[in-house]
C-alpha cells in the first residue's frame, strides 16, 4: 500500500535518462522524481547535465534512452508543444515574452486563438489570474513597463494558466534584486500549496535553502543523489556538487607545499569595479600563481574581466609595478603586459573561420599595431613554433581553428597569449571541456610560466587543479570576496567551507 501512495504522489518520474552528444555522454542513467506540491532544486556545476535534463523534459532535445512518466502515465515528449500538453511549463532565465505587448496579450498569445477574439474576456481572465496569484500587474499594462521580476511572474502566470502541473524555473533569480526574489518566492510557495511541482534551477545556495524542499544533485552527467533539503548541510551540498567527500578531502590536503611569494608586486587594484563586478581589492606578485574560486555566478570571472578591462570599468585605482595606470579596455591591459584567456572559448576566444596561424598571431598583431603587419613568413614561423611547443594537433597551420578539438583550440588561444610574452596572464577556465592529458599539460605550463617570473591568475571549476597550481586562492561568494586562503589553509575542506559560507 505504501508503495502505491508514493506512486500517486509522484507528479513526474524520469528513469534511466541517457543523452549522448558527439563524443560526450551528457546524461548517463539519470533518475529524477518530482512530487506534488514540492519545490525541488536541481543542482550541479557547469556541465553537470542540468540544462540537458531540462531540455529533454521540455522537448528541446530527445533522449537516447530512458522513460518519462507524468502522473504515472508514460509519455513521449518530442516537442515543446508536447511538454506543454503534458502540463510541463518552463520559465527561462531570459524572459521570452514580448515587451511591446500587454500583459494580457503575453499571457494568451500563441494559445487557443478563440481567446484572442474577445479582448475584454481575456483581459478579464488575465486580471483574475494575476489577482489570484497576487502579481502586481494589470492586464492592460504594457509588459515592457513592468519590472523584470514582474515580467518573470507574468511568464509564470502564463505557465500556470496553461494548466501546468510541473513548473520549471531555470535560473529565475539571476537578474532580480533581494526584494524581487522574495516576491518570486512568495509566488512559488503559493503555487506549491496549490499542488504544483516546481523544479528550481539556480546557483544561489542560500536561495536553495530558503525555498526548496528537496535537492537533486547531478555531476558530470550522472546522478549523485536526491536529498531532503533539511538533511543536507550546505557544505555537504557543495562537496557533492564538486565531487569530493569531506573526509576524503582532509586526507588529500597538505600533500603539497605552497611556498609564499616574497617577490615584487606586479599588479595591484583597489576598489576596482566594472559593469559586471562589485568593487574589490586584489594584488599579484611577480611569478605568483593565484586563483579565484567560488561557484558558478560567484563573480570570479567578472572580477578577472574587470582586471583586463573586458567589461566597462566603473572605477578604482590600478597600479602596475607600483605606478598608477588606467586600464579601461583590453588593449590598455595588453600594452601593460596582461593577457586574458576568456572563460567562454567559443564566444570570446577563438575566431573560428580563421586559420590556426592567424588565431595565434592576432593578439601580437594588435599590439604591434595596424600599420605593422607581421609578414607571412614571420607569422608562419611563430605558428610553427607554438604548434610544436604546445603540441597542438592540427592538420596544418592553415586549418580553420574551428575544426580543431576543444583542447587544441584552447592551446591555440594559449599560444596566442604566450606569443605576446605577457608579464601577467589571466586564465579563466583554461581546462574546461578538454581531455585530461591536455589539462595536465596546461597546469604544467602554468607552473613553468611562474618559474619564468610571469604572474598567473588561474581559474578552474575543479578545485584540485587550483590547489595543485596556485599558491593563493581568493574565494568568492555572491559576487563578494569572502576569503583568501594560503599556506596551510590551502586544502579542499577549507576551500569548500569558505565557498559554502562558514559553518560546516
Amino acid at each position: 500500500m505504501e508503495v502505491m501512495d508514493m506512486q500517486e504522489d509522484h507528479l513526474l518520474e524520469l528513469r534511466g535518462i541517457e543523452k549522448r552528444f558527439p563524443g560526450v555522454l551528457a546524461l548517463n542513467n539519470v533518475d529524477f522524481t518530482l512530487r506534488k506540491g514540492e519545490i525541488h532544486a536541481l543542482m550541479g556545476e557547469n556541465g553537470a547535465g542540468k540544462s540537458t535534463l531540462i531540455k529533454i523534459l521540455t522537448g528541446v532535445y530527445s533522449m537516447d534512452a530512458g522513460s518519462i512518466k507524468v502522473e504515472g502515465q508514460s509519455v513521449h515528449i518530442t516537442s515543446p508543444q508536447d511538454a506543454q500538453n503534458n502540463g510541463i511549463s518552463t520559465v527561462y532565465q531570459e524572459i521570452t515574452l514580448c515587451p511591446n505587448l500587454t500583459v494580457a496579450e503575453n499571457m494568451f498569445i500563441g494559445r487557443d486563438s478563440k481567446n484572442l477574439v474577445n479582448q475584454k474576456a481575456y483581459e478579464k481572465r488575465a486580471d483574475e489570474i494575476l489577482q489570484s496569484l497576487q502579481i502586481p500587474a494589470r492586464a492592460k499594462q504594457q509588459l515592457g513597463n513592468c519590472s523584470l521580476a514582474v515580467q518573470q511572474m507574468v511568464a509564470i502566470a502564463r505557465a500556470v494558466d496553461l494548466q501546468c502541473k510541473v513548473l520549471i524555473l531555470d535560473e529565475p533569480t539571476s537578474s532580480l534584486d533581494d526584494k524581487e526574489v522574495n516576491m518570486l518566492f512568495t509566488l512559488m510557495r503559493d503555487l506549491k500549496s496549490r499542488g504544483v511541482g516546481i523544479i528550481f534551477v539556480t546557483h544561489f545556495l542560500e536561495q536553495v535553502y530558503e525555498v526548496s524542499d528537496r535537492i537533486t544533485v547531478l555531476r558530470n552527467g550522472e546522478l549523485v543523489g536526491e536529498y531532503l533539503t533539511e538533511d543536507l548541510p550546505q557544505v555537504q551540498l557543495v562537496a557533492k556538487m564538486i565531487g569530493k567527500e569531506l573526509d576524503e578531502l582532509n586526507n588529500l590536503s597538505d600533500t603539497e607545499e605552497h611556498k609564499e611569494h616574497d617577490g615584487q608586486v606586479f599588479y595591484e587594484a583597489q576598489g576596482l569595479t566594472s559593469s559586471e563586478a562589485l568593487p574589490f581589492d586584489f594584488q599579484i606578485k611577480k611569478g605568483e600563481v593565484n586563483g579565484f574560486t567560488g561557484l558558478l555566478g560567484s563573480g570570479r570571472s567578472e572580477s578577472v574581466r574587470a582586471i583586463f578591462g573586458a567589461d566597462k570599468v566603473g572605477g578604482g585605482t590600478v597600479k602596475i609595478k607600483g605606478e598608477n595606470v588606467k586600464i579601461t579596455k583590453p588593449i590598455d591591459a595588453m600594452k601593460h603586459g596582461i593577457g586574458y584567456l576568456a572563460e567562454d572559448r567559443k564566444r570570446d576566444g577563438i575566431i573560428a573561420d580563421l586559420s590556426v596561424r592567424e588565431n595565434i598571431i592576432i593578439a601580437l598583431q594588435v599590439m604591434n599595431g595596424f600599420f605593422k603587419p607581421i609578414s607571412r613568413s614571420e607569422s608562419e614561423a611563430f605558428a610553427d613554433e607554438y604548434i610544436k611547443a604546445l603540441n597542438i594537433k592540427t592538420a596544418s597551420r592553415e586549418t580553420p581553428v574551428g575544426s580543431l578539438s576543444g583542447g587544441n583550440q584552447q592551446k591555440v588561444i594559449l599560444a596566442r597569449w604566450l606569443l605576446t610574452h605577457p608579464d601577467y596572464l589571466i586564465l579563466d577556465e583554461p581546462t574546461r571541456g578538454i581531455d585530461v592529458g591536455t589539462k595536465l599539460e596546461i597546469q604544467k605550463l602554468v607552473l613553468k610560466l611562474a618559474e619564468e617570473d610571469v604572474s598567473v591568475t588561474f581559474i578552474s571549476s575543479e578545485i584540485e587543479e587550483m590547489l595543485r597550481t596556485c599558491s593563493r586562492l581568493i574565494v568568492m561568494r555572491d559576487r563578494h570576496i569572502v576569503g583568501e586562503l594560503k599556506g596551510a589553509d590551502l586544502n579542499q575542506a577549507q576551500v569548500m567551507k569558505t565557498i559554502a559560507g562558514g559553518e560546516s
Binding site: 583590453p330 576568456a342 570570446d348 573561420d353 580563421l354 595596424f370 603587419p373
Partner: protein, 361 residues
C-alpha cells in the same frame, strides 16, 4: 578519425570555384551561340584614337563601376555582416560634387580635375562615416542605417546640381570616361586595376584584412584581443566611400553630365549580388575581394549576353533573376553540405555493396 576525413573533404570547395565556373559557362555558352562574340579588334574611335573594341571589352568596361563598388561593399559586408544600400545615391552626390567643382571658375585643367576627384572622395567619405557611425556606434542594422541615405541621397544631389543636369565637356573628363589618347584600354578598366592594386597593397601593408575578418567572424573575441571593433567597422564604410566617389566620377565622365536621377541607379543591389556571387558570406567574416570583382563581371556578362540574344530590355531582369537564383543557391552552405553528403553517399554506396556482402557472410 573517419569523421574528420569526411569533414576535410567537404571544405575543399574553393570560394572562387562557383564564380569562375559561372564565367566559364557564360563564355562557352556565348561561343556556341556566336563564335565571333568575343572577337576583339583594334579600330579608330570617334576621337581618332586607336582602341580595343568588341563585346568582351564593352563587358569589362561596363562593369567597372560595379566592380569598384563591389570591392568596398565586400569590406563593409565582412566587417559589419550587413550591406550598404546607399551606394547608388551616395555616388550621385559624389558625382554632383565632382561636376560642381569642375564647373566652378573657368576652364578645366589637370589640377582642377584632381581637386574635383579629391573633393568627391572627401564628401563620399563623410557620408560613409555617417553610415558607419550609425552602424558601428549606434549598432543599427546596416541596411536600415543606410536606408536613410538611400532615401535622401538623390535629393541632396539634386540640391547640389540646383535642380539641373549640368554637363561637362573636357578632354580630361572624356579621357576618364573612355580612353586616354595613345592607350587602347578603356580608362575605367585601368581604374579598376588600379583600385584592385591599392586594395592589395593596403592588405599587404596593414592588418586591415585580418582585423576585418576577426571583427566579422567573432566581434566579441576580436574586442577581447584588443581590436577596436568600432573603428574597423567605421573604416570599412569610409573606404567604401572612396569607392563610391571613384565609381560616381567614372559614371559622370562616361556621359559628360550628371543626372542625379539615373546615375548608377539600382547599382547597390548589383554590388551586393556581386559580393554574394563572389562566394563571400553576406553575414560577415572571411572575404575575398577578387571574388566580388569576378562576381561583378559575371553580372555584367550575363546582362550583355541577354541583350545580345535580343531579349527585350524589359525582360532582361527576369532572366537575370533566374540565373542569379541558381548561382546563389549553389553557393549556399546548405547546398554545399547536401551536395557533399550526396557525393559521400554515392561513394559509400559503391563501396557499400561489397562491405554489406561481407558483413552478412
Amino acid at each position: 578519425m573517419k569523421d574528420k576525413n569526411i569533414k576535410s573533404k567537404k571544405i575543399n570547395f574553393g570560394q572562387l570555384t562557383i564564380p569562375l565556373i559561372a564565367i566559364a559557362l557564360l563564355v562557352i555558352f556565348n561561343l556556341i551561340r556566336d563564335p565571333g562574340f568575343f572577337f576583339v579588334g583594334l579600330s579608330h574611335n570617334n576621337d581618332g584614337n586607336l582602341v580595343l573594341q568588341g563585346n568582351l571589352i564593352s563587358i569589362i568596361n561596363g562593369a567597372s563601376e560595379l566592380a569598384i563598388l563591389a570591392m568596398g561593399m565586400t569590406l563593409v559586408t565582412a566587417a559589419c555582416g550587413g550591406q550598404d544600400i546607399s551606394v547608388g545615391a551616395a555616388a550621385a552626390i559624389a558625382g554632383s560634387v565632382f561636376v560642381k567643382t569642375l564647373k566652378s571658375g573657368s576652364g578645366i585643367n589637370g589640377g582642377k580635375f584632381i581637386a574635383a576627384l579629391f573633393l568627391a572622395c572627401i564628401v563620399a567619405m563623410i557620408f560613409g562615416s555617417l553610415n558607419g557611425t550609425l552602424v558601428a556606434i549606434f549598432k543599427i542594422q546596416p541596411m536600415i542605417a543606410t536606408l536613410i541615405l538611400y532615401t535622401c541621397g538623390r535629393s541632396i544631389a539634386y540640391w547640389i546640381n540646383g535642380g539641373a543636369t549640368p554637363t561637362v565637356s573636357s578632354p580630361i573628363v572624356s579621357a576618364m570616361g573612355s580612353f586616354i589618347p595613345g592607350i587602347p584600354i578603356p580608362t575605367p578598366v585601368l581604374i579598376v586595376i588600379l583600385m584592385a592594386i591599392i586594395f592589395k597593397l593596403i592588405f599587404r601593408f596593414t592588418s586591415l584584412e585580418l582585423f576585418t575578418q576577426s571583427v566579422g567572424i567573432n566581434g566579441s573575441a576580436a574586442r577581447l584581443n584588443g581590436i577596436n571593433t568600432t573603428f574597423i567597422k567605421l573604416l570599412s564604410f569610409i573606404i567604401l566611400g572612396v569607392c563610391v566617389a571613384v565609381a560616381g566620377s567614372i559614371g559622370v565622365s562616361r556621359l559628360g553630365l550628371i543626372n542625379h536621377e539615373t546615375l548608377l541607379l539600382d547599382v547597390e543591389m548589383d554590388a551586393i549580388l556581386a559580393v554574394a556571387i563572389g562566394g563571400n558570406n553576406l553575414g560577415g567574416g572571411k572575404f575575398k575581394i577578387s571574388g566580388s570583382i569576378i562576381g561583378a563581371y559575371v553580372i555584367q556578362m550575363l546582362t550583355i549576353t541577354l541583350y545580345a540574344m535580343k531579349v527585350p530590355s524589359t525582360d532582361v531582369k527576369a532572366y537575370k533573376a533566374i540565373v542569379i537564383i541558381i548561382l546563389v543557391v549553389i553557393g549556399s552552405p546548405v547546398f554545399k553540405e547536401k551536395f557533399a553528403k550526396f557525393m559521400n553517399n554515392m561513394r559509400k554506396n559503391v563501396k557499400g555493396i561489397n562491405v554489406k556482402g561481407a558483413e552478412k557472410a
